[in-house]
Amino acid sequence: MGQPKGSPVPAAGSAPPGTASPPAAAPAPAAPPSAAWLRDGTPGRLRRLLLLILTATVLLWLIATIVVQGLHGTAATVRDQDAPAFTDATEAHAVLSDADRAAWQSFRSGEAQLTGPGQQYQNDITTAGQDLEQLAALAPSGTAGQQLPTISGQLVNYQGLVEQADAANRADIAVGNASGHDLGYAYLTYSSSAMRNPQGGLLASISGVTAADRQALDQGLGSWWASPVLLVLVVAAAGWLLWCILRAQRFLLRRFRRLVSPPLAVAGVLTVVLLAWVLATAVSAESSLGAARGSALPALTQVWQAQSSAVDAQAAALRAGKTPSASGGLNVIATQQASSALTADLTSAQDVGLLPAGIPLLAVAIVGLTWLGFKLRLDEYRG
């Protein structure tokens, strides 16, 4: 330790480092002035190391930003577009099936004489109309967008047939038709057929939209942005940056006898913090998307399917003139609970906190600290 702390130490068997004068008899070939600052002795080596660390930092910044923004964007699309489109289409399907059931119940019970197809029918039609409007706003193009005008026309047609059933039923009652209100029930049968015909009926058209929306939702939830493989890239970039910092520390130790450069050490710690933050956020988001995919969505689908099946069975029984084994139509609370669970998972997946701001801040800090660490050494070669 006979030299001042931080002063250059020639490596054993090597030429004097840095700006030590080369032998006058053997001048080095003239280098292009633009690259000389990178090549000349220890300062050049320091500058190369600095450039390497800065490059690795920028790369980490880029990759971390792309991964986090990709994940956030995917989760946001799923939460704000794919999931609502699927739930709107599914709900429209269920409430229209319930509208058919409610109309039949009103006719069979005799309420239709005073109330027509009934209040529940009206509520279901209103809900279906709102769902279709929201669908149109969410998916102006694609399968759903193409099908919606058709569905809209079919819905108007269905409502027209129910109105005809109501009118015919009242007319039959008014004239005391002994045939048993056949025409009113006939029109109601036509309305059910228009709705439930598996080949091109209203519900079949909505099922087409539901299937397309479900496919989009599954693709979103299974997006490769939510794949752990992408995190390997982040780990690799952070690992490379750490390796560069360690290499710089080692060089400083050899050339300058400095055990630790504090700015570089802090830069290394910030790199680890950045990596841990990105990993924790990404793993949490992926976990939430996984929960939505593996649990909340199947549960929601199951609730809707169970309710639709029950409503379909009740409607079929009423059409056949039988008393349904259960009544009451849709259980709105159960579907809302199932839908809330899915929304909660997707909201959690979308929440990346302050990370989008934290990544550039930490990257700038790493760059600044690295520059500071190297500047102290490079300054020793000036003047």
């Binding site: 490059t55 690795a56 079919q154 047939l161 045939s179 228009a194």
Partner: protein, 452 residues
């Protein structure tokens, strides 16, 4: 140390690789724009008919790379009306009624297709009568081609199962000079024997009632002849006139007389036209005679034979037909037909190409060759040998060879008249005693519908 001195270069290489990877990651978020041209088609063909149309356009898609996006629903008329109201019609739509074609052409809703058609070729392949059906007057009054006939159907047809029809009556039914009186005599004989002669179903979603209008139209045509039929279609013959009233009453005697129609009027109202004929093939049959257009063979071919899960009725063996018999000499040699017209609502280049393709014999053959399709081509260059079975060949021969062919009357009337006719049939079956009120109501609609 060489290794140490090269490490920054390696780092730069690694950086480049990572940069490429990051770029690729970012790029993967985007999608490709553009794609193949698409023709949207709306029609009432579903099930096997939809498959027939898709088979028809497959060759076009392969040859041109243009994609045909077909939407099939039994409520196509209502959907088209809604699409037009929203200003978002499909490129092409199937119109089952010349009345609708004339109305949409006059409104300027339909786009003329003259430019899409080789008219010399069309003249060689289609008779003047069929070509006339493809034309209409546009908003300026000038006549143009506005549609093509994709396929046609013979409607004056009565179906039966040759294997199950009572042998003592079969020879009377199939005798060349079969008359209406003989046919009704056979039916009454079957009823007296304790079985139901007629299958009947009027349900077809929002178009319910048309199977009954077909009955009445056939009776008018085969009783009063083409001249009276044309006056009626043109709106110059009142519904309350004797020929029309008597046709309704004749239909009522079949549909409402106890024991003549399966299930009676209440069952006929809610039985689908597509399923009405299924009891022909049960053991024993639920009914023995079915008045349906030639398209019904597509449904028969999917029915179960004798309750079997795998066996389906086969033409000639399990179902065959006799022409609707004349009720009077004026109705001899006549036949009622129908056709599916395809009109253009958005004049894209791809839509014009598809229109042109669909008139060719190759396209027409792709549909009619499908076993059980029930489709008949009116293109004269399509040989009878291309039909897949003797029954469909016979149907095509009857359609193309009839001395006096008339298009379906209700399809030819203005739309509000047609809708009123459909609903009137349903009301008549519900309460036959209201016939005077019903016909009077139809005349009121007539005065509004035919107003110049």
């Amino acid at each position: 140390m060489p290794g140490r001195s090269r490490s920054p270069r390696r780092a730069v290489a690694l950086l480049a690789a990572c940069g490429l990877a990051a770029g690729a990651l970012a790029a993967c978020g985007g999608g490709s724009a553009g794609g193949p041209a698409v023709v949207t088609v709306l029609g009432s063909w579903t099930g096997d008919e939809q498959s027939g149309f898709l088979a028809m356009v497959r060759g076009f898609e392969h040859a041109t790379g243009i994609q045909v996006d077909y939407t099939g629903t039994r409520d196509a008329d209502a959907v088209l009306a809604s699409d037009l109201k929203d200003g978002n019609p499909p490129d092409l739509a199937v119109l089952s009624r010349p009345g609708e074609l004339r109305q949409d052409a006059a409104d300027g809703t339909l786009v003329p297709i003259d430019a899409a058609l080789d008219q010399a070729r069309l003249a060689r392949q289609y008779t003047p009568g069929w070509r006339s059906l493809m034309q209409a007057a546009g908003p300026s009054g000038a006549r143009h081609y506005y549609a093509i006939i994709v396929k046609a159907a013979l409607k004056s047809v009565i179906w039966y199962d040759p294997r199950q029809f009572p042998a003592r009556d079969l020879s009377r039914l199939t005798s060349p000079g079969l008359t209406w009186d003989q046919l009704t005599g056979v039916a009454r004989g079957l009823a007296r024997g304790g079985v139901t002669p007629w299958c009947l179903g009027l349900e077809d979603s929002s178009d319910s009632g048309w199977p009954g209008t077909d009955w009445i139209e056939d009776i008018v045509l085969h009783r009063s002849g083409p001249k009276v039929y044309d006056q009626w279609v043109a709106g110059t013959l009142p519904w309350t006139s004797a020929p029309i009233r008597q046709a309704w009453q004749a239909f009522g005697r079949v549909a409402s007389t106890r024991g003549l129609a399966r299930g009676g009027p209440a069952a006929a109202l809610v039985t689908s036209y597509a399923q009405a004929g299924q009891p022909l093939f049960t053991r024993p049959p639920g009914c023995y005679l079915d008045h349906e257009g030639s398209f019904i063979t597509a449904f028969y071919a999917q029915d179960r034979l004798g309750g079997s899960r795998h066996a389906h009725p086969r033409p000639r063996t399990d179902f065959d037909f006799v022409p609707f018999p004349p009720l009077a000499s004026a109705g001899k040699g006549t036949a009622e037909v129908a056709g599916d017209l395809l009109g253009m609502f958005r004049g894209t280049a791809a839509a014009r190409k598809l229109i042109s393709y669909l008139t060719t014999p190759a396209a027409q053959e792709a549909w009619i060759r499908r076993p059980g399709s029930g489709a008949i081509s009116v293109n004269r260059l399509v040989p009878l040998a291309d039909y897949p079975d003797p029954v469909s060949r016979e149907l095509a021969r009857n359609l193309l060879g009839a001395a006096s062919v008339r298009f379906d009357a209700s399809d030819s009337m203005p739309q509000i008249m047609e809708n009123a006719f459909n609903n009137a049939v349903l009301e008549y079956l519900d309460d036959p005693g209201q016939l005077d009120v019903i016909l009077g109501g139809l005349d009121q609609v007539r005065q509004a519908a035919y107003k110049p």
